[in-house]
C-alpha cells in the first residue's frame, strides 16, 4: 500500500507529461467536453423551460444541480477513466498481461497510468456553473453545509468509481461489458432533473434502484431548501462503501478468471 502511494505521483506525472506533448489534443479534449456539457444544460433548459416551474426548481436552481453533478463525475473521469477500456476491450484483447507480471497491485497499475485532462475541463465547467448560478438561488452558505457539499462531491466520486469498477469487471465473464456499463452510467443524467417532482416511479428508480438521485440530486436539494446536507453525505458514504466493496469483490473474482489471448 505504501509503495503504491509513493509510486502514484510518478504515474500521474508521467501521464500528464505524455499528454502535454500533444498540446492541441489536450486543448481539443477540454473544449469538446465544455461544449458537450453546454449542450446538455441547454437540453435541460428546453425540457424544463417548456413548463412554468417545477416545485422549488427554478432554472437557476437546476443549473446549480447540473454543475454539482459534473464535479464527482469529473474527478472520477480524471483519475479512473481506464475502466472504460477494461469494459470495452482490455479483456477481449488480453491487454491486462503486462500488469500481471509486475509485483504491484494490477488494479493500481491499470488505473494509475492514465490522467485525463478532459476531466479537468469538466470539473472547471461544473465549478464555474455553480459559481454563476448559486448566488441567484438564495442559498444560505453555512460553514457546515459548505463542508458537507464538498464531502458529498468527493464521496460521489467513489460511487462513480465503484459503479464503473463493478460493471467494467463484468467483462471478465462477458468479454465486453461496455454497453452494459454505458447504460448504467448514463442513468446519472436523469439526476440532473428535479427527481422528487418527476412522479413516484421516476423518483423511486433514482433513489432506490440506481442511487444516482441519492448522491447527486439529494445534496443539492438539501442545500437549496436549507436542510442539513450531512444527511446526504451519510447516504453518499453508504453508497460509496457498498459500491466500492462490490466493485473490488467482482474485480478480484474476475481477475482470477482472466485468460490471456493467443499462444
Amino acid at each position: 500500500m505504501l509503495k503504491e502511494l509513493r509510486l502514484y505521483p510518478k504515474y500521474v506525472a508521467m501521464s500528464v507529461k505524455s499528454s502535454l506533448s500533444y498540446k492541441t489534443d489536450a486543448i481539443l479534449q477540454i473544449i469538446s467536453f465544455a461544449v458537450t456539457e453546454a449542450v446538455s444544460l441547454a437540453t435541460i433548459y428546453l425540457i424544463v423551460g417548456a413548463v412554468p416551474s417545477v416545485g422549488i426548481w427554478t432554472f437557476e436552481a437546476l443549473a446549480v444541480l447540473f454543475g454539482f453533478t459534473l464535479i464527482p463525475k469529473a474527478i472520477d473521469h480524471m483519475f479512473f477513466d481506464d475502466l472504460w477500456i477494461l469494459a470495452y476491450w482490455a479483456v477481449r484483447l488480453g491487454e491486462l498481461d503486462p500488469y500481471l507480471t509486475k509485483p504491484i497491485n494490477p488494479l493500481f497499475q491499470f488505473l494509475a497510468k492514465t490522467f485525463k485532462w478532459a476531466g479537468a475541463g469538466e470539473l472547471v465547467v461544473g465549478v464555474v456553473i455553480m459559481c454563476i448560478f448559486a448566488p441567484q438561488c438564495a442559498i444560505v452558505w453555512t460553514a457546515s453545509n459548505t463542508i458537507a457539499i464538498i464531502v458529498c462531491a468527493l464521496l460521489g466520486m467513489f460511487v462513480f468509481t465503484g459503479i464503473k469498477l463493478l460493471f467494467a469487471s463484468l467483462a471478465f465473464w462477458v468479454k465486453s461489458s461496455g454497453v452494459i456499463l454505458n447504460t448504467v452510467y448514463n442513468f446519472c443524467n436523469y439526476a440532473k432533473y428535479p427527481v422528487r417532482y418527476m412522479g413516484k416511479a421516476f423518483m423511486s428508480i433514482m433513489f432506490y434502484v440506481v442511487p444516482f438521485g441519492l448522491f447527486l440530486y439529494y445534496p443539492v436539494e438539501l442545500l437549496i431548501t436549507g436542510g442539513n446536507v450531512w444527511w446526504a453525505a451519510l447516504w453518499s458514504s453508504i453508497a460509496a462503501v457498498v459500491l466500492i466493496t462490490l466493485g473490488l469483490f467482482v474485480w478480484h473474482r474476475g481477475i482470477r478468471r482472466y485468460e490471456s489471448i493467443g499462444n
Binding site: 492541441t24 481539443l28 467536453f33 441547454a42 417548456a50 417545477v54 478532459a118 412522479g199 421516476f202 428508480i205
Partner: protein, 274 residues
C-alpha cells in the same frame, strides 16, 4: 458501361456493410435492453413535464406524440449513425489511409457506399422491428392518432436522405483526424452537436423561435426532425416538400465541401513504414 462497372465496385462495400450489421445481431439484444430503459425513463420524465404544464400539448406535441417522437428519434439515431468520422479517424491513426489512397477508387465514394449498406442492415435488424413495436404501443396503449400509411412509406426515403446528410457531415468532421489524435472527444462532441441541432434530443419546436428560424437554413433539421415528424403526420405537404429539397441541396453542397477539404488534408498524411 463504365458507370455500371463503377456501381458494381462500390456496391461491394454496400453489401459488406449490410452483412456486417447482421454480424452484430447478438449485441442488438443488449442495445434493445438499454434502449427500453431509456425509453421508460424519458417517458416518465415527459409525463411529469406534461402534468406540470397543465396543458395537453407542449410545442405542438401531445403526450403520445412526444413519447413516440422520443422512441423514434432514438431508434433512427442508431439507424442513421454511419460512423464515417470514426472510420476516417481509425484509418488515419493506424495508417490504413495509405492503403486506401493507393487504390483506384474514391475514398469518399467508398465511405458513402459503406454508409448505405450500414443503413440498410440496421434498418432491417433494428429499425423496422423497434419502430413497429413503438408505434403499436403508442397507438394502442396511449391512443395516438394521425399515423398515415403514405407518411410511413415516405418516411424511409426521407430517413435515407437524413443518413446521407449525416454521412456527408461525418466525412467533413472526419477530416479533423488528419490534424489531431484527440478524436474521441471531438467525435463525441460533434455527434452530440448534430443530434441536438437535428432535434434528436429535444424536438426542435421547443427551441426558442429565433433558433428555429436560424436552423431552418441549416442541414440539421433534415437529418432527424423532418423524417420523424413526417412519420407522426405532423408535417404539411408543403413542409415535407421544402424539407426534401433542402436535404438534396445540402447533400450536394456538403459532399462538395467535404471533397475539397479532403483534397487539402491528404497532403498532410504521414504514414509510418513503407
Amino acid at each position: 458501361m463504365k458507370a455500371f462497372r463503377k456501381l458494381k465496385i462500390y456496391s461491394a462495400f454496400t453489401k459488406a456493410n449490410f452483412l456486417l450489421a447482421f454480424a452484430y445481431r447478438g449485441s442488438v439484444f443488449l442495445w434493445l435492453l438499454g434502449g427500453l430503459l431509456t425509453a421508460v425513463m424519458s417517458g416518465l420524465l415527459w409525463w411529469a413535464v406534461f402534468s406540470f404544464g397543465g396543458s395537453d400539448a407542449i410545442g405542438g406535441f401531445s403526450y403520445p406524440q412526444m413519447l413516440l417522437y422520443t422512441v423514434l428519434s432514438a431508434v433512427c439515431a442508431e439507424v442513421i449513425y454511419c460512423g464515417t468520422a470514426d472510420e476516417i479517424a481509425r484509418d488515419v491513426r493506424n495508417g490504413m489511409i495509405g492503403m486506401r489512397l493507393s487504390k483506384p477508387i474514391s475514398y469518399q465514394g467508398m465511405q458513402a457506399a459503406s454508409a448505405v449498406g450500414n443503413f440498410s442492415g440496421k434498418l432491417v435488424i433494428v429499425g423496422i422491428p423497434m419502430m413497429t413495436i413503438g408505434t403499436l404501443v403508442a397507438v394502442f396503449g396511449f391512443g395516438l392518432d394521425g399515423i398515415q400509411w403514405y407518411n410511413v412509406l415516405l418516411f424511409i426515403p426521407t430517413l435515407f436522405l437524413g443518413m446521407m446528410l449525416n454521412n456527408a457531415l461525418g466525412f467533413m468532421f472526419g477530416q479533423i483526424a488528419f490534424k489531431t489524435q484527440a478524436m474521441w472527444g471531438v467525435l463525441s462532441m460533434t455527434d452530440l452537436f448534430i443530434s441536438f441541432l437535428s432535434g434528436a434530443v429535444v424536438p426542435l419546436s421547443l427551441f426558442p423561435s429565433w433558433a428555429q428560424n436560424i436552423l431552418a437554413y441549416t442541414p440539421f433539421p433534415s437529418v432527424m426532425s423532418l423524417p420523424v415528424r413526417l412519420f407522426l403526420g405532423m408535417n404539411s405537404w408543403e413542409q415535407t416538400l421544402i424539407g426534401l429539397c433542402s436535404s438534396v441541396f445540402w447533400i450536394v453542397v456538403l459532399n462538395v465541401l467535404g471533397a475539397l477539404w479532403y483534397k487539402r488534408s491528404v497532403r498532410h498524411v504521414v504514414v509510418f513504414g513503407g
